[in-house]
């Protein structure tokens, strides 16, 4: 199936910035856009961020699956890259990493 009738990124950004009213809002309270939550940076929630020690990482991929916030992506070497725009500093990845390769650091320091 092909995507039908969804807004473009430009339109979605406009919607948020202009705070559309009843004339422009899509019918029925629908949001025809995939993942518009990306425009809300939850990284602001905490100064703590997950920092990876690439040497210690054993590429087990556990952190990728556990991160509740889709804030971890794996690079070409299968080592996690944390997205600080969204990392809430919860610390699950650091806690669960079997090789202690992740540390929660206070980035405001």
């Amino acid at each position: 199936m092909t995507k039908q009738n969804t807004l473009s990124e430009k339109e979605m950004k406009e919607w948020i910035a202009e705070k559309w009213g009843y004339e422009k809002l899509p019918i029925g309270g629908s949001v025809p856009y995939a993942g518009s939550s990306e425009f809300f940076k939850t990284g602001d929630w905490s100064a703590f961020k997950a920092v990876v020690d690439r040497e210690k990482c054993t590429k087990c991929t556990t952190c990728f699956f556990l991160c509740p916030d889709s804030a971890i992506e794996m690079d070409e070497e299968e080592i996690p890259v944390m997205n600080f725009d969204y990392c809430k500093g919860c610390g699950i990845c650091a806690q669960e990493c079997p090789s202690d390769a992740i540390e929660m650091k206070d980035m405001s320091q």
Binding site: M1, K3, Q4, W20, L25, I27, G29, V31, A34
Partner: protein, 398 residues
């Protein structure tokens, strides 16, 4: 067997419930999700026969309650499917919460309501309250006077609801037992008619695989009002769309429905106003009174939501007094549903009649000719009254 005939002009005997089931079968919706309740049961039973005999392509979901019936209808309708259901009384009350969601999600679900009194006490007979209390849900709401009208309104409802600028669910009523179970002659329609009159439904943002739309989000105070206002605009659009749809239907079938039907209103000084099956008997009484030289007419309000205030005001412009007969209840209010909405909407018009309210036929009680004539006499008596006249319950035993 679906009741249809190729003989033009030939009527087939159907009860109101059978008529609605037949109409639904001819329309052949994608999904029907329903739960039985007297006096709607014949609709779902009859439709089940069509399903079991392969006469319809409908996915029929025998849900476990009316709340789930409307929930399943909503789930089906968000995919863009054409959806039908039916209920009554307690069933409508049980699905009440979801009715608001169906309208807010702009889903053109069609529901037949076998109008029945609400408990308590429990009563299975004809009364319009189960539907009038839904006037705030955002659904388009219509009533029927006969099995033919209930049959026709099934088709009309889909057409109106699915019109893009409307996109609202539609409920239409037929008085419990009086219409649902009484046999009348109905001119049937067929699938060729449906092909011409009812094009496929088109939904702007359907919940279908590959289409990343989210619907039903949490709207905080900064957005809720704007989304809700769109519903009001949809009702405004319905006011324009409905007469056009009625007209188109009339051109094909010869049966011309109106938001408000005027009956013998020429030169009428007094008028009855009512909805549903009572309209049929009221017409009979108007004929009788007219033959006795009375200058009286009646208005049958077919469309309750959107409320046809302009049409009513125009029809009653030169009328001195009206007796509104409500077959529905509400308590501690300015008056029952039709009476209050009518009176409130007429307030701003310069030329308007005095309005007197009557409650009749509650819990399925018969309203006979004498009682209509009594209403007429009361209206004449109250005409010109300077003090407010309380609502009168007809045929009430002390």
């Amino acid at each position: 067997m679906t009741k249809t005939t190729t003989k033009p002009g030939k009527r087939i005997g159907m009860t109101g419930d059978e008529a609605v089931a037949n109409a639904a079968a001819v329309i052949n919706p994608d999904v029907v999700a329903a739960y039985p309740i007297t006096p709607q049961t014949i609709i779902v039973e009859h439709f089940s026969d069509f399903v079991a005999n392969g006469e319809v392509d409908t996915e029929y979901v025998c849900v476990e309650s009316e709340h789930s019936a409307m929930s399943a209808c909503v789930g089906a309708s968000v995919t863009g499917a054409r959806v039908f259901t039916a209920s009554a009384s307690q069933g409508v009350a049980l699905m009440y919460e979801i009715l608001f969601i169906a309208a807010a999600s702009r889903l053109p679900i069609v529901m037949a309501v076998a109008n029945r009194a609400l408990s308590g006490p429990i009563n299975i007979h004809g009364e319009l309250t189960d539907q009038t209390v839904c006037r705030d849900t955002g659904w388009i709401s219509m009533f029927s006077e006969s099995a033919q009208e209930a049959y026709d309104t099934t088709f009309l409802s889909f057409k109106i609801g699915e019109t893009p600028e409307v996109s609202l669910p539609v409920m239409f009523g037929l008085d419990g037992f009086i219409l649902t179970h009484a046999l009348e002659g109905v001119h049937p329609l067929d699938r060729d008619f449906v092909k011409a009159f009812l094009p496929d439904r088109v939904m702007k943002y359907p919940t279908i695989p590959g289409n990343p739309v989210s619907s039903g989000l949490l709207a905080l105070p900064d957005y809720y009002m704007e989304v809700k206002y769109q519903q009001e605009l949809a009702m405004t659009a319905a006011r324009k769309v409905m007469p056009k749809v009625f007209k188109e239907f009339g051109e094909i079938t010869g049966r011309n429905y109106k938001m408000v039907e005027e009956y013998k209103m020429d030169g009428a000084e007094t008028a009855f106003v009512t909805m549903g099956a009572l309209a049929g008997s009221t017409k009979y009484v108007v004929d009788k009174l007219r033959s006795e030289g009375q200058k009286v007419g009646m208005l049958k309000v077919k469309t309750f939501r959107p409320f046809p205030d302009e049409e009513i005001a125009k029809a009653l412009k030169n009328v001195e007094a009206v007796g509104v007969i409500d077959r529905d209840l509400t308590f501690g209010s300015p008056g029952p549903a039709l009476y209050s909405d009518l009176k409130a909407s007429l307030y701003d018009y310069k030329d308007r009649p005095q309005v007197f309210g009557f409650v009749a036929g509650i819990g399925g009680r018969d309203v006979d000719v004498k009682e209509y004539e009594y209403v007429y006499k009361q209206v004449l008596k109250h005409k010109g009254a300077e003090k407010a006249v309380p609502i009168e319950w007809i045929g009430l035993r002390k």
